[in-house]
Amino acid sequence: MKYWAGLLILMLTQPIRAEGELLVVVSRESRVDSLTKSQVVDLFMGRYVNFPNGDKAKVFDLAPKSEMKGQFYRRLVNRTEAQIDAYWARLLFSGRNTPPKETESPGQLIDEIISSSHAIGYISSQDLIDSLKVVYRFEAL
């Protein structure tokens, strides 16, 4: 009985704890200071390849099937990762638009962002470091 109750508590508390806060970040050197949600969407979904100020944007994504990636797209456009893949599959056909570049881990993603002033990506709030600048913050659930 105690075991079942413990499991229930675990199930209820787990997502909140694991989710943390999702942040869209750029390098500290980037001239972009903040973005609206739709601007974030337009960048991540390939509508625009430049930031609103005209700077070229290099969009980075996490590896497929990572928990945070699913979380991010659900929060951003309310789509599953499979739907996002299907979306890009249609665009890949023409070859003109390319999906965000995938990184193997959040650490590598952070490295990529730090190393380029054009890079943009998303991280969990726990991983926020000084060399990163938050341009969009998902509202807390």
Partner: protein, 553 residues
């Protein structure tokens, strides 16, 4: 063919065919347009569905402004038959179209608003499709024509089926009934059999009705036949009665023309007339007193009381042939409803012999057997009539009383035979002197009375001399010798007394008496003379007729 055209099943089939053709044409016409409309609607819906199918991809292509993807989509759309041209438009000048130029400004476009795939309230472009109207219309027309043909075919098949069923169920049994009905001969006990499967429906009832009718017709024909047979027998009997009757029977119309007559009638008529055919001739022409009979017949027709009248009539005869008398019974025949056109039935017996016998009997009864003058009884009756006529017409009735002189002596000396001879001779001479309608009467024994008329006007100048002349003629005639059978002549004479109405008496008896007394005056004056009654002489007592009557001659 003409016959065929009048057959019921042909008419029914023709009517069905015509109405079906009408229905087929009308419904095909109506449904054609509806079908065209519907098909076009379907095609438009198809276009809409097509655009909705690629909506998501199109909005993605517009979202990322991927002209390759957009081209792919537009070309894919244009492959569809229902699509003529397609175009994807995005606001900032992004436009991909399949045709030669942009579709903006064209009519009949199907437009789909494209939204941002990640934000439902941001419009990012439009998908415009120009439907292939020609294709759609052609397609719709084809479908509608097919539909119309199907409808027509269906109606035709239905019509054929209905015709067949009507023929099988209605006209064919009716036809067979009609054929059998035409074969029915009235009077023969023929029946129509009910067609199979129709025992309980209207056709069955019709057949049983016809059968009932036919059998009742046959019954009435039978009874009619029997009746006619009876009537024929009866008619034969009546004709026999009519033709063999001893009495003459005939029927005359309102103009007295003969309508029909039996042989007995014709025998009576032909006895005295040589006529080829009596029918159509006037009945009254054959009788002696034609005018009288005609007015009598008119009376019968007009009178409500006279229905049957019997008359003895004398037929008109050819000169020289014997008299013919018939007893006739006239009866009115009322033809139902024709009051004006009155016929009269005449029943006629030849009564010539009987009438002659009667005439003889009456003559014998009224006349003296010896002299053939009227006897006293009939004479007195005739004198009364004479007086009545004289009174009515204001005339003079003259009575002459004639007494033979010395007749008793002749009788006694010469015998009764000689006396009879004298009396006969006297009668003949009197008849010769007087006119036919003067009355000559043997009053009794050797006494005679004559009655005659004279005009009253100018009595003294004309009538009186005439009377005196007549009296003197009579005296002369009676004074002639009479030759007896033995050849000897004997001289006779007569005393005549004359009296007149109204001069010498108001009635017959007084005038007779006056004439009688005047006769005695003649005897007293020496016989063989005439005397007119003189009232002055009547005063003498010895002139009393009764006393003298015993002493006379």
């Amino acid at each position: 063919m003409r016959r065929f055209r009048h057959q019921l099943y042909f008419k029914v089939a023709l009517a069905i065919a015509l109405s079906v053709a009408l229905v087929a044409v009308l419904s095909s016409y109506f449904f054609y347009f509806e079908e065209v409309e519907r098909n076009e609607q379907v095609s438009r819906e198809h276009v809409n569905q097509l655009s909705r199918t690629i909506e998501k991809t199109a909005s993605i292509a517009v979202y990322v402004q991927d002209s390759v993807l957009a081209r792919e989509i537009i070309d894919g759309l244009a492959i569809n038959d229902v699509v003529s041209e397609a175009e994807l438009i995005s606001e900032p000048g992004f436009s991909v179209y399949s045709g030669e130029k942009t579709l903006i400004g064209r009519e009949g476009l199907s437009t789909l608003i494209l939204y941002n795939p990640f934000s439902e309230d941001e419009v990012i472009g439009q998908l415009k499709i120009l439907p292939n109207e020609a294709f759609i219309h052609h397609n719709a027309k084809d479908a509608a024509v097919n539909q119309a043909w199907m409808l027509a075919l269906l109606t035709l098949v239905t019509a054929i089926l209905v015709s067949f069923i009507v023929h099988k169920a209605l006209t064919s049994p009716l036809n067979s009934i009609t054929n059998k009905f035409e074969e029915i001969i009235p009077g023969q006990n023929s029946h129509i059999s009910v067609p199979r499967f129709h025992q309980r429906d209207e056709i069955g009832r019709l057949v049983s009705g016809i059968n009932t009718l036919v059998s009742s017709l046959n019954q009435s024909i039978d009874s009619e036949r029997n009746l006619r047979k009876k009537t024929e027998i009866l008619e034969k009997k009546f004709r026999l009665i009519f033709e063999q009757a001893s009495a003459g029977i005939c029927l005359i119309d309102s103009d007295n023309l003969l309508l029909t007559a039996n042989p007995a009638f014709e025998r009576i008529i032909y006895k005295s007339h040589s006529i080829e055919d009596a029918i159509g001739l006037r009945l009254t022409d054959w009788f002696d007193n034609k005018l009288q009979l005609e007015s009598f017949l008119t009376d019968i027709r007009q009178s409500h009381h006279l229905d049957t009248v019997a008359l003895d009539l004398k037929m008109k005869t050819l000169p020289g042939s014997p008299d013919c008398w018939v007893h006739c019974l006239f009866s009115k025949v009322l033809d139902a409803g024709k009051q004006s056109n009155l016929m009269i039935e005449v029943l006629m017996y030849d009564v010539t012999e009987r009438t002659e016998r009667e005439i003889n009997t009456r003559f014998e009864a009224d006349h003296d057997g010896l002299t053939h003058l009227k006897n006293r009884r009939a004479g007195r009756r005739a004198l009364i009539e004479l007086f009545d006529r004289a009174k009515e017409n204001d005339k003079i009735a003259v009575i002459m009383n004639i007494d033979l002189d010395n007749f008793k002596t002749i009788n006694d000396v010469r015998g009764h035979e000689a006396g009879d001879l004298v009396l006969i001779e006297v009668g003949l001479r009197m008849m010769a002197v007087f006119r036919n309608d003067d009355l000559c009467i043997r009053w009794g024994g050797d006494e005679f009375v004559v009655g005659c008329y004279f005009d009253n006007a100018r009595f003294e100048e004309r009538s009186l001399p005439a009377i005196e002349k007549l009296a003197s003629e009579l005296r002369c005639a009676l004074n002639q010798d009479v030759q007896l059978s033995c050849g000897e002549d004997i001289n006779i004479g007569a005393s005549i007394g004359i009296a007149m109405y109204p001069q010498h008496g108001r009635d017959l008896e007084s005038v007779l008496k006056a004439a009688d007394s005047a006769m005695y005056v003649s005897k007293h004056r020496g016989r063989n003379q005439y005397s007119i009654f003189d009232p002055k002489l009547m005063g003498e007592p010895d002139s009393c007729p009764r006393n003298d009557a015993e002493t006379k001659s």
